[in-house]
């Protein structure tokens, strides 16, 4: 038998159903893997061994009786620490919430519990999702399993590193501007940012509400599909979710559009080569490759950061240390108390974004920033809609750079923001996007990004599977 840790969800679900292995055995193997490796990787912020073992035993009973089994019954997974799991600390990577115990389950967790999946623990992230490296976590950086001197990407760096290092079969992430796809790319795993409204945000610590989506981080595209199916669907607790009507690919030959604006200055030459070679190989496999244009792409990042910071400043107003959160000791009056609680509880990047968001929304500036950025979203979506008249998916790099060294960019916020240039358009437009490993430069993984029309996740999976086959 091959190493138990190397199996995909698809393979494991068959072995579990046939009782060739038990969930308890599998869960123990993953807990051992965490014990052995996580000192070096630091993917997890907390691991609840007792709960995981109890859930595994429950899953084994279901599997034995062959009752209410799904493909996820008995499968151990990690949860980004921005997602509420009842009874577990949910810190969102922030000192502000280091003692916050979730009083209820997020909808995605309720769904996975019903499916019989086993929670291993909560994974590390940039504070409140703000960052591209997990260096902004208040609890220490996560290391890239492919090179521990480098970042795993962010903000869902813990979830991606956990899957990459075989510390969990799959993990949940959350993507506001690339926070699933970027770390998936850096860690050599698969990550999906679903169509906005496909997955409930109830029980997620809100960052930028019009951009946030929860999604899977997995070993393979098939696994990604399984987890996506389990967590998606309309939820009365999140009025932005919609009844899910996924569109199946209509054509036999996949038409891939390659935006010329993706290949401009700022793109690392090695990354460019891997992506172009891989697109060429997809062409050899029968895909139709077309050059396309997204003329407003250059404005995406500025629009994104204006909206991101504005929405964050509003969403994070709730962290005043009164009902929950960090409370300082020195303040003499109410105003000082707010300022002290927030000044001590938030890290530097969170302060930066709340303050710039406050500025962008303040009297006299709304029209110059937020309103213009919202107009840019309309233009970008119309750029994509034009392109999707001729092609089924858009393909390009996930990140303009390779996984960078820990400490390399953290001192210069603007250089960190530029890493998000290729991932933010999908969030601004609500379109789904998938990151799939496309090759390596040395030992460093490079991810290919596919973006499709809304609710066309099946087309993304088809494109992702085609890419996977090249490397099998």
């Amino acid at each position: 038998m091959a190493d138990i840790l190397s199996y995909t969800i698809e393979e494991l679900s068959q072995k579990l159903a046939k009782q060739e292995i038990s969930s308890l055995e599998l869960t123990k193997a993953y807990l051992d893997s965490i014990k052995k490796q996580d000192k070096n990787i630091h993917a997890f912020l907390s691991v609840d061994e007792a709960l995981a073992l109890a859930d595994a035993k429950k899953a084994d009973t279901l599997l034995k009786d062959a009752k209410n089994i799904t493909k996820l019954t008995g499968i151990p997974y990690g949860v980004k620490d921005a997602i509420l799991v009842e009874g577990m600390v949910c810190s969102a990577g922030s000192k502000m919430l280091k003692d916050y115990i979730a009083p209820y389950d997020a909808t995605v967790i309720i769904k996975l519990k019903k499916a019989g999946a086993v929670i291993l623990g909560k994974t590390n992230m940039d504070e409140f999702g703000m960052g591209a490296s997990t260096e902004n976590s208040a609890f220490g950086v996560t290391k890239n399993p492919h090179d521990v001197t480098r970042v795993p990407g962010g903000s869902s760096g813990g979830s991606s590193a956990a899957v990459s290092a075989h510390e969990s079969v799959f993990a949940l992430g959350e993507d506001t501007g690339g926070s699933i796809r970027l770390p998936a790319s850096f860690c050599g795993v698969v990550g999906l940012k679903p169509t906005y409204g496909a997955v409930s945000r109830y029980g997620i610590i809100a960052f930028a509400s019009s951009l946030d989506q929860v999604g899977p981080i997995t070993k393979t595209v098939d696994d990604c599909k399984i987890v996506f199916q389990a967590i998606s669907g309309q939820d009365p607790m999140d009025s932005t979710t919609v009844e899910l009507k996924l569109k199946k690919p209509e054509r036999k030959k996949l038409r891939i559009g390659v935006p010329k604006e993706f290949f401009t200055k700022g793109l690392d030459k090695d990354v460019e080569k891997v992506i172009k070679d891989t697109i060429g190989k997809l062409g050899n496999k029968g895909a139709i490759i077309k050059e396309v244009s997204l003329p407003n792409l250059q404005y995406g990042l500025a629009a994104y950061y204006i909206i991101n910071m504005s929405e964050a400043s509003a969403n994070l107003a709730r962290y005043d240390g009164i009902r929950y959160g960090h409370r300082g000791k020195k303040a003499k009056n109410l105003r000082e108390m707010y300022e002290e609680n927030r000044g001590e509880g938030f890290g530097e990047e969170v302060k930066r974004r709340i303050m710039l968001g406050t500025y962008a929304l303040s009297a006299g500036y709304y029209d110059a920033y937020y309103l213009q950025a919202q107009k840019m979203r309309t233009l970008l979506l119309s750029d994509f809609e034009k392109v999707f008249k001729d092609v089924d998916v858009v393909a390009g790099p996930v990140s303009p750079v390779l996984p960078f060294k820990i400490g390399e960019r953290i001192g210069d916020p603007m250089s960190m923001y530029l890493v998000d240039a290729y991932t933010v358009p999908a969030n601004l437009t609500g379109l789904p996007a998938l990151s799939v490993p496309a090759g390596k430069v040395g030992k460093l993984p490079v991810g290919m990004q596919f973006i499709s029309g809304k609710f066309e996740e099946p087309t993304l999976f088809a494109a992702g599977k085609m890419l996977e086959k090249i490397y099998v």
Partner: protein, 96 residues
Amino acid sequence: MVLKKDVIRIAQLARIQVSNKEVEKFVGEFSDILTYFDTLKKAKLKGIQPMTHSVTSQNVVRKDEGKKVSVEVKNKLVAMTETTKGGFSKVKAILQ
């Protein structure tokens, strides 16, 4: 161009205590970031409708009805706050 007094003013609006060191640092960083935001000024946005929702634009309502919450849940929520009195969260005086 962002000045020191601007950063202090924004920090006050956002109710965040910032150290002198942070203020010094933010002056330069905010200037860089706001200059980058200005790239949007080059875009042709005249007459374009702002996007209010990326996927659907339908209004969703649910029944306006009270939900009973168990004492257990209430206690859990109250336990999240640091200072309590009689089952409520205690704060500094609002009126001086």
